[in-house]
């Protein structure tokens, strides 16, 4: 475990931020159309200050559009978007929010440290750029021009630019896209530290584990609408009998006999080829029924596990299993 401390301590005279009673982000009835396509279709969400909210959804669900409207990059066609109590896009908001746009951003020929110094110059009480460069593991690439940084390095620099000005609210649009597992861990630790220090974080992701381990609240959106909203625990365990028994066996087994042998409230499905799932309240009797049915079929049940629904199950249930174009 490494302990890191900012090189530049809090200065006297820095702006004191009182606990903010207003929501960090408040979106209601948001609509955004691109030509004939409706990207966001009546979206509502509220983020309490000091919390981490994850916008989860498949590609094209409207996550980036929603975030960019909050950041002030796009304007809404209808609805209201308030950020830290002010209408989104207000000039006075920009010093108070930190933004990590999707895919980052930098001059093609600029070095990481120069880019961070430039963004630091825009802030009244920035973090120490040298320290932040080291924290984000960019110390070995300080002289590399931006265009030659790897995708993950560009993302880390972009994250540094979002945090350098000590914002009250940070927007992270797919913060860990293109990052290796170590860097992803670091980002998760950073988000945890931000929350500890009272910074609100709104992030988008399509990674379930990211949303599950980081977020206080998850808003699942699809086709521009909210399809579910709650804490990861609420979303995954809203019913006590919401459990699953999963196993793998030969594809195409006839499960009608198994269904008949199980209590009526349990459902059996072959979710993908050779992957079977029994949903409902799983007790030892259910496990025994399943294994004896397998024995009758002359197959061995492999990877047999009992678990509660994962966020991924909830997500796929709500947004469908077919691939989006």
């Amino acid at each position: 475990m490494t302990q890191l401390r900012a090189g530049r301590p809090d200065r006297l005279g820095c702006v004191l931020v009182s606990p903010n009673p207003q929501p960090a982000v408040e979106v209601s009835g948001l609509v955004k159309r691109y030509g004939s396509k409706t990207a966001v279709d009546g979206l509502d969400l509220v983020q309490q200050p000091g919390t981490v909210l994850a916008l989860l959804g498949p590609n094209g669900a409207g996550k980036t559009t929603t975030v960019e409207i909050c950041e002030g990059f796009r304007t809404a066609d209808a609805g209201s978007v308030r950020v830290l109590g002010l209408p989104a896009g207000t000039e006075a908001l920009r010093p108070r929010i930190g933004v990590m746009p999707q895919g980052g951003g930098g001059y093609p020929g600029i070095r990481a440290e120069e880019m961070l110094n430039l963004v630091a110059a825009c802030a009244a009480h920035p973090l120490d750029p040298k320290w932040l460069i080291e924290v984000l593991g960019l110390g070995g690439a300080v002289r590399t021009p931006y265009k030659r940084l790897s995708g993950g390095q560009q993302q880390r620099l972009s994250l540094a630019c979002a945090l350098i000005g000590r914002p009250e609210l940070v927007f992270l649009d797919e913060p860990t896209a293109g990052m290796d597992p170590q860097a992803r861990r670091l980002v998760w630790d950073l988000v945890g530290a931000l929350k500890e220090d009272g910074v609100s974080v709104l992030l988008t992701t399509h990674l379930m584990d990211e949303a599950e381990s980081l977020a206080d609240d998850v808003v699942i959106i699809d086709e521009g609408r909210v399809v579910a909203h709650g804490s990861p625990a609420e979303l995954t365990a809203n019913r006590p009998d919401d459990q699953q028994l999963r196993f793998r066996a030969r594809p195409g087994l006839d499960t009608t006999l198994l269904s008949a042998a199980l209590p009526e409230r349990l459902k059996v499905r072959e979710v993908t080829r050779g992957a079977y799932v029994v949903e409902g309240l799983i007790d030892p009797q259910v496990v025994s029924t399943v294994t004896s049915w397998c024995a009758q079929q002359g197959v061995l049940a492999e990877e047999l596990t009992v678990a509660k629904r994962s966020l991924e199950d909830v997500f796929l249930e709500l947004t469908g299993r077919e691939l989006r174009s």
């Binding site: 951003g105 924290v135 220090d197």
Partner: protein, 252 residues
């Protein structure tokens, strides 16, 4: 697991001081231009080589003293190279790499984003002109000092006009198209746009390149105020290009 001392990220938002933002932004712009090899070739090496060639060889007919006329025309070329072609290409690629969006998301005001680029461009042009002027003096150029205020004014006006045209081109099209067009236009303006030699055809004098070269020639060679005509042409191009560019320039 990495842990951070409590309070490390405690919010303390605020906008930096305007002069410092402007200084750091302009310095960044100028540094990046001066570090870019292709930009140096276009803005320094080629104008320098042409200055020497035009002064020493009488391939192109030019009024005597040759070096004075050549210096004026190469000043114009240097301004076109960096404020128009260099700025357009840089902007095209800056947009591709998302830097405008990145900076728009910071506390940098929009007007400062433009002002920083303009100041950066003026610094680069000042360095180009200084280098070319020293070379011209070695080649025997005698500068009537009475022309100095006019030359400075024309350099600033030329940089703003061609800068606006550069932003108009680089701010809306795809980077590779900008790269091709900006170089082609540079070459056309140099050859037939009244820069390398004054073309007697009427409409050429309405081009900003011919206007800048002609105005500079008056002040650099004779040390007098430029004619109203060329200055009006420059201002008109600058105003129209600037007005259009504010509508067409996209962040990405």
């Amino acid at each position: 697991m990495t842990t951070f001392a409590p309070g490390t990220f405690k919010p303390s938002p605020g906008r930096g001081s305007l002069p410092r933002m402007l200084f750091v932004h302009a310095r960044t712009e100028a540094t990046l231009t001066l570090r870019n090899g292709e930009q140096i070739l276009l803005t320094v090496i080629i104008p320098l080589a042409l200055l020497v060639a035009l002064s020493l060889m009488s391939v192109i007919p030019m009024p005597e003293p040759r070096v004075g006329s050549a210096t004026a025309r190469i000043f114009a070329l240097a301004i076109i190279s960096s404020a128009f072609t260099g700025q357009a290409i840089a902007l095209g690629f800056d947009r591709r790499y998302g830097v405008l969006k990145r900076l728009s998301a910071s506390a940098l005001p929009r007007w400062l984003l433009v002002a920083g680029r303009v100041c950066g461009a003026l610094v680069v042009v000042a360095l180009q002109i200084a280098l070319l002027a020293v070379t011209a003096l070695f080649l025997g150029w005698r500068f009537p000092l009475s022309g100095l205020p006019w030359v400075v004014l024309l350099i600033v006006l030329g940089t703003l006009t061609f800068g606006a045209l550069g932003v108009l081109l680089g701010g809306s099209l795809r980077a590779d198209i900008v790269l091709a067009l900006a170089n082609i236009i540079w070459f056309v303006l140099l050859m037939v746009g009244g820069v390398a030699l004054s073309v007697p055809v009427g409409f050429v004098h309405l081009l900003p390149s011919a206007a800048l070269a002609q105005a500079l020639e008056t002040s650099v060679v004779h040390g007098t105020a430029p004619g109203v005509g060329p200055v009006a042409v420059l201002v008109a191009w600058g105003v129209v290009a600037g007005a259009l560019a504010t509508r067409t320039t996209k962040l990405t």
